[in-house]
């Protein structure tokens, strides 16, 4: 096969946050029907895991795509510090009007990390619980939801 070998670096981060799934565009009954217990007016929370994938040439002198310290600092500043121990609906401007589903959170994290200057952002994977995982690789791609069990435990 002639196409070149691509190397990606993946790094996992964690934050805890709360959200309430509720849309002003829907009636109370519709909100209740669509979002179920996630529509509870007081909200609820998750331990989120964010997997960040970056790619680029492996520097011959360092053996690295990017220095981890640079990636950690960027992700911590742009995402973790902004989301950890917050309420998405109340504390994150982007979600004051947009419903903070993990699909939307995943896209927002991708948007925030796209500007990482040291390597190309390939994809963002967000685990809302160990059973629900969302993946987004930019505008040209689809959001992928992987559900690993039918257990209704969230």
């Amino acid at each position: 096969m002639s196409d070149e070998l691509k190397v990606e670096l993946g790094r996992r981060y964690r934050f805890a946050a709360s959200h309430r799934l509720h849309s002003e565009k829907l009636s109370q009954e519709e909100n209740c029907r669509i979002y179920g217990k996630c529509n509870n007016p007081y909200g609820h929370g998750h331990n989120y895991v964010v997997e960040v994938h970056v790619s680029g040439p492996v520097d011959a002198a360092t053996g690295m795509i990017t220095n981890l310290a640079d990636l950690d600092e960027f992700v911590n500043r742009e995402v973790i510090e902004a989301f950890d121990h917050r309420s998405f609906n109340e504390d994150v401007a982007e979600f004051c009007e947009q419903v903070p589903t993990t699909e939307n959170v995943c896209v927002e994290i991708f948007r925030r990390l796209k500007a990482f200057p040291k390597a190309k952002l390939e994809r963002v994977v967000v685990e809302e619980t160990s059973n629900n995982t969302f993946e987004y690789a930019g505008r040209e791609s689809r959001i992928t939801l992987r559900r690993s069990s039918k257990r209704e435990n969230q």
Binding site: M1, E4, L5, K6, E8, R11, V58, G63, M64, A69
Partner: protein
Amino acid sequence: MVYLTRKIEFSASHLYHNPVLSAEENKRIFGKCNNPHGHGHNYALEVTVAGEPDPVTGMVLDLKELKEILEREVMRRMDHRFLNYEVEELKDQIPTCENIARLIWKLLEPKITQGRLFKVRLYESPDLFAECYRNGAAEE
């Protein structure tokens, strides 16, 4: 297309040091990974092979054969070794997760003759990994 993934684990030590750089630069770039005595990890390797199941055996490739290839190419070379000093192919490279994953790809690709090597993912810790694949090879 069916994607089959096999996982193995090995333990090895390494250190990051580039003799071309000054001691200060090595310290700044590599931090505690620059400790001259090295340190170790439990690596987890996931190898994904893509192919169509054989109509007779129902297999993309014989898992037993893949196990033997991984034993020969990866385990014997890297398990319980000091990667900088004992893995010939890494002697002139910094044994980062990126470089080890790339080496594993190069070792495995020619050996996998049933199906084709689709992806190699090497975890250095549960929160850090490198992945290798052919550019343009997309999962269906």
